[in-house]
């Protein structure tokens, strides 16, 4: 079949179709020109195509094409459709459309109305009702539909970019009188039948103005596209970028913004230290600024920098890349080296008198917080020197006296008064409550737990803390024979290490679970093994053997059962028994608080003493109530309770914000772009060689050789001013002034590249408007 014989047949088919639809076509002015205005992503070009296809189904000739901008989603897009009874030969753009379809109301202000003749149909997608436009566009057949709402309801597109075209064409069909059936057929042929219900809803909900007033002139109508006579600067005269007249910011559906999220280390620190803050200051070579931040929460950096189990390091995102940052080492660096830094004190507050009972970490932390706030603080303690468990319970090879004193001297420099040898009794407590404006009770877990098995009273059996205290106070003592330490925490390790240094021939640690379950600091376990201590695991002592003095321990084998509340598997003691020979037994299975000092009738709620249902001026801090068992926890709790007392003293509302659980989002390793960082191994602490260690009580861990470990901090969730956002912004509209970035929202299209590229999750996209 050649073209000649085919043509009349096609023509015949079209005229047949036209004849069938003559009633519909009678109302449509032909030739017809339709112009569609939309934004990239709304489907404007397809909208024009759908119109063309519907008319084509009625037997008319149609032409349709898009007029794309140079940009992406959100950019103004135009599309054109021509309809006629005869084949269409004009390929120009449409300057004076008979039907004007506007998919986005904001386009009204950017020339969409250009060239539209009075009497033309203007159909607008808008959330506003027809009445909103009263008095405007009176010279047109003006109609409105909320196609976005309908399309969103039918889930066409995404919640951010709703595709309105198929819905909108339903409204168009109604206002021009196109049969819904033709629409349905068209949608079916294009595989868009799922959108048809939305179109039908728009068909039903479109509203049009009644009368046309040809004499009215709408303010936004501009003349048809005139030939541009703009001057174009020669490239040879161009010496700077021209500001683009196109405010691309109007295309944005989401905005980037800078955020400060919680780093996992800060989140994990029981003391509430701003770790990212002080490490970044160290990275900037500003030791005093780092100290300023650290001392904001932490009175004992030289202590914590030595004995903290460092949950921050366990949480460090870098741990999932090339090893956690040695945060403990950096904290110690500040404690040991920021000797020029003096802690500041608020001098303006009206001074109140506060008593702190107990000179352990919680008491010290509370006293520090209150003294810095400008109050008179007196610490009452039953020992000769400040420090509590830190001084008596931690051997010098882990925490030298001078390190502890360095921290405590800062406290005394704040004017805190220390009253030693004061035994706190309930009578004394009542006296303090009457004499002082507030009392913080932080006597810790003063009572060592004694196991209840036979032989506990035999000579040679001793509480570990008693042993540690004696050695520390009286100096090195000579131990002969074999020492068995019962327990798996740091105190057990300290007992074992001290026994080794005292000359014990053999030292064993007996623990009822496995090595991984031991609550002691992992590095300390490594150390103690190097020093020759043996671990006897999965064994529960059931009896101390001996007549007159200890000769051995009877142990029962332990199997691990289901996990307990702490997540550790519960030890199940079996009847399989064995024995070990030993000459000394040190008990280190924990302590408990002595609550007997509280006068009768005193009740504790939320760490505050209540009497007769009323809160009184006494708070409990630290291990006495929490039993968390680490210095860092005690410091954190001491400060928080001190702040509670402060708000009482200063007659402010409770500052429970710090206690609140609504913390910002924590940045996990998934949120980091590790590919932006080069791998760098963590700097290890220097350690004394084993032979030198066991000769005496010299400090084992000698700390970091240099503070440049701070370079490894990724500053998770905290802007490090790396300029990545600025460099990657495809629009070049991010600028920086000193430490602040500015995004020019006039031009930001919300592409999200800056957020995607941010190495440390310090930016995020947020919904627009």
């Amino acid at each position: 079949m050649n073209a000649k014989s085919k043509d009349p047949e096609r023509k015949g088919y079209r005229s047949l179709l036209r004849a069938e639809n003559e009633a519909v076509l009678a109302n449509i002015p032909l030739p017809l020109e339709i112009r569609v205005h939309g934004r990239g992503g709304q489907g404007g070009v397809t909208c024009a195509k759908l119109c063309a296809l519907v008319y084509s189904r009625l037997g008319l000739f149609a032409q349709t094409f898009g007029d794309y901008g140079m940009e992406r989603a959100g950019a103004p897009v135009r599309a054109y459709t021509r309809i006629d009874r005869n084949p269409i030969k004009n390929r120009n753009k449409i300057y004076s459309p008979g039907h004007l379809l506007i998919l986005d109301p904001s386009l009204l202000e950017s020339g969409a109305m250009g060239g539209v003749r009075p009497g033309s149909l203007v159909l607008l997608n808008t959330p506003d009702p027809l009445a909103f436009f009263h008095g405007a566009y009176e010279e047109f057949r003006f109609a409105v539909v909320n196609a976005t709402q309908i399309a969103r309801k039918h889930r066409i597109g995404t919640s951010a970019v709703v595709i309105v075209n198929t819905t909108f064409v339903g409204a168009y069909a109604r206002v021009v009188g196109l049969p819904l059936e033709s629409l349905k057929e068209t949608y079916s042929s294009l595989g868009l039948i799922n959108d048809f219900e939305a179109a039908r809803e728009a068909y039903d909900s479109v509203t049009a103005g009644e009368n046309i007033n040809p004499a009215a002139v709408s303010p936004m109508v501009t003349s048809p596209g005139s030939r541009s006579s703009l001057d174009v600067i020669p490239l040879t005269e161009l010496t700077q970028d021209l500001p683009t007249p196109l405010k691309t910011g109007s295309w944005r559906t989401q905005s980037p913004r800078y955020v400060t999220l919680k780093s996992p280390c800060n989140h994990a620190c029981p003391a509430g230290n701003d770790i990212v803050g002080f490490v970044q200051k160290l990275e900037n070579q500003d030791l005093d600024a780092a100290a300023e931040i650290l001392f904001g929460t932490q009175p004992l950096p030289s202590v914590c920098g030595r004995v903290c189990p460092a949950p921050c390091m366990a949480a460090c995102n870098r741990g999932q890349y090339d090893g956690a940052v040695n945060i403990r080492g950096l904290e110690r660096w500040i404690g040991d080296h920021a000797t020029n830094y003096s802690v500041t004190k608020n001098m303006s507050a009206s001074s109140k008198k506060v008593a702190v009972a107990g000179a352990g970490p919680a008491g010290v932390s509370a006293a520090y917080t209150l003294a810095r706030a400008g109050h008179q603080v007196v610490i009452f303690d039953n020992q000769a020197k400040l420090g509590g468990i830190l001084r008596n319970g931690i051997p010098a090879y882990r925490l030298p006296e001078e390190a502890l004193d360095r921290d405590l001297n800062r406290l005394l420099a704040l004017g805190v008064e220390h009253r030693p040898h004061q035994v706190i009794t309930s009578v004394e407590l009542e006296r303090l409550a009457a004499e002082f404006d507030a009392v913080i009770l932080a006597t810790g877990q003063a009572d060592s737990i004694a196991p209840e098995f036979p032989g506990i009273d035999l000579p040679g059996v001793e509480q570990g803390l008693t042993f540690l205290n004696r050695v520390k106070t009286d100096g090195k003592e000579r131990i002969r024979g074999t020492v068995a330490v019962i327990g798996g925490g740091n105190t057990a390790l300290d007992c074992a290490g001290t026994a080794v240094r005292c000359g014990a021939e053999r030292v064993m640690i007996v623990y009822r679970r496995g090595r991984l379950e031991m609550p002691a600091i992992k590095e300390e376990i490594e150390d103690i093994l190097l020093e020759g201590v043996e671990l006897i695991l999965y064994r529960q002592p059931v009896r101390i053997i001996g007549t007159g003095s200890v000769t051995g321990l009877e142990l029962a084998e332990v199997q691990l059962g289901a996990p307990d509340g702490s997540g550790r598997r519960r030890p199940v003691v079996t009847k399989k028994l064995s024995r070990i020979a030993c000459d000394h037994v040190l008990i280190a299975i924990g302590q408990r608080p002595n609550m007997g000092i509280l006068p009768s009738g005193w009740l504790v709620r939320n760490q505050r003493v209540h009497y007769d249902e009323q809160p009184v001026n006494i708070w409990l801090a630290g291990d006495l109530t929490t039993g968390d068992g680490t210095v860092a926890h005690a410091i954190g709790n001491g400060r928080r309770i001190a702040n509670e007392a402060l708000s009482f003293l200063e007659e402010r509302a409770s500052c429970s914000m710090e206690l609140s659980s609504s913390v910002p989002e924590v940045v996990t390793a998934d949120g980091m772009r590790f590919s932006c960082f080069t791998t760098k191994k963590a700097h290890q602490d220097r350690r004394l060689d084993v032979a030198s260690r066991i000769e005496g009580f010299s400090e084992v861990n000698l700390g970091l050789p240099i503070e440049n470990e701070s370079q490894r901090c990724l500053s998770c969730g905290n802007c490090a001013h790396c300029d990545t956002c600025l460099i990657y912004c495809p629009e070049g509209i991010i600028t920086r002034l000193n430490q602040d970035y500015f995004i020019n929202l006039d031009y930001c299209k919300g592409c999200g590249v800056c957020v995607w590229e941010c190495p440390r999750h310090a930016m995020e996209m947020s919904p627009q408007g």
Binding site: S228, V232, L235, T236, E237, L238, T239, Q240, D241
Partner: protein
């Protein structure tokens, strides 16, 4: 006694030194026969404030020139044949950014099949790239044309890149006596480059988006700048002659055409052969003349039309072929002849084919016998 390649490199180096009180000299280079010796020679030069950057391709070589030129340096490179074709994207960039880069093209046939010898098809492929094109006929002209090229490229009325074309081997590798200038003379002829749109302290983007109306205006401005080449060239010729004592050729040079009944039109070294043939044939009583087109872009319509005046037969010799059309020179020149004149195209010397006097005599004989002009005729094919 130096080759065309060395003449070009010496001129480029002297031009580079002449910008030592300005923003210096830069050249991005990549070797290709027949231009390799030019870039090698340049690499050995010690140029104050000069950098010859060896890169991995011709495309990058021109990219170096584009960047350096935008930063205000005097820039030069050399290539030919497929090297030029590979470079071509950035060749257009230099032009459309209006950067005064100078490039010596060692004209070489385009492969495959591979051929290292000369014809004009490489540079003529880029006749529409917005560059000025000068075609040389001897080593002296190569040296002089490079200096002239910098002068007209950097003229504020033009600001256009310039291609200096020398036929591969025929000029590039042929040693002849060539007068080299003193640096002081070159300094005088080429003042430091002041690029008005150079990248300075204000950061900005080069080559951003042009809308339709902007690109139309920019093309119109570029075309107008091409029109300014004539006056810039004339003034440069006068200065050149004053300083160096030699007169660079006009864009169109005629030879014994006054009473000619037939003119041979050609570019490059073929014109020298054509002039010999003219002398021979004049000796035998034939009134023939020769016209050399020295500048192909901008195309010297007026000068060529004037040269054609009164000549009834014109034989246009092309060392190139626009396939499916004919010679490029013939295509541009044929409309400029007297009404009724016969303009016949002869295509010859492709891929280094030796164009000898007898070939040109053959063209004359053929052209004189025509009653009307026909399709292009290939001469010397398969010899």
């Amino acid at each position: 006694m130096i080759t065309g390649n060395h003449a070009a490199a010496m001129a480029a180096a002297m031009a580079g030194r002449a910008n030592r009180s300005g923003r210096g000299f830069c050249s991005g280079v990549y070797p290709i026969t027949p231009s390799t010796e030019c870039m090698e020679f340049l690499c050995l030069q010690d140029i104050e404030k000069g950098h010859v950057v060896k890169v991995e391709s011709e495309h990058s070589a021109m990219a170096v020139c584009v960047g350096a030129s935008a930063a205000g340096a005097r820039t030069f490179t050399t290539t030919g044949g497929n090297g030029l074709i590979y470079m071509s994207e950035n060749v257009t960039v230099a032009a459309y950014l209006r950067l005064p880069v100078v490039m010596v093209v060692g004209n070489r046939a385009i492969g495959p099949p591979w051929n290292i010898w000369t014809d004009h098809s490489d540079s003529l492929t880029l006749r529409d790239s917005g560059w000025v094109q000068i075609y040389c006929w001897n080593n002296q002209e190569v040296f002089d044309a490079v200096l002239m090229a910098f002068r007209i490229a950097e003229d504020h009325r033009t600001l256009l890149p310039v291609m200096v074309c020398q036929e591969g081997f025929v000029l590039s590798h042929t040693m002849t006596l060539t007068e080299i200038a003193y640096q002081a003379q070159v300094d005088k002829f080429l003042p430091p480059l002041q690029l008005p749109h150079r990248l300075a302290t204000t950061p900005r983007a080069l080559g951003t988006f042009d809308t339709s109306h902007m690109i139309e205006a920019h093309r119109e401005q570029h075309h107008a700048a091409m029109g300014m080449v004539w006056s810039a060239y004339r003034e440069a010729q006068a200065d050149f002659e004053r300083i160096f004592g030699r007169h660079p050729p006009d864009p169109v040079v005629t030879y014994r055409t006054d009473d000619a009944q037939l003119a041979l039109v050609s570019m490059g070294t073929i014109a020298e052969t054509a002039n010999q043939v003219v002398d021979d044939l004049r000796g035998r009583g034939l009134k023939v003349g020769s016209i050399r087109v020295c500048m192909f872009r901008p195309f010297p319509f007026d000068a060529l039309k004037q040269a054609f005046a009164g000549i009834p037969r014109i034989a246009v010799i092309d060392r190139d072929i626009s396939l499916g059309f004919g010679g490029a020179l013939w295509g541009e020149a044929r409309g400029l002849a007297e009404p009724g004149a016969i303009v016949q195209n002869f295509v010859t010397g492709l891929g280094g084919g030796d164009v000898r006097p007898e070939h040109i005599e053959e063209m004359v004989t053929e052209a004189l016998g025509l009653t009307t002009s026909g399709p292009p005729v290939f001469i010397g094919v398969g010899e």
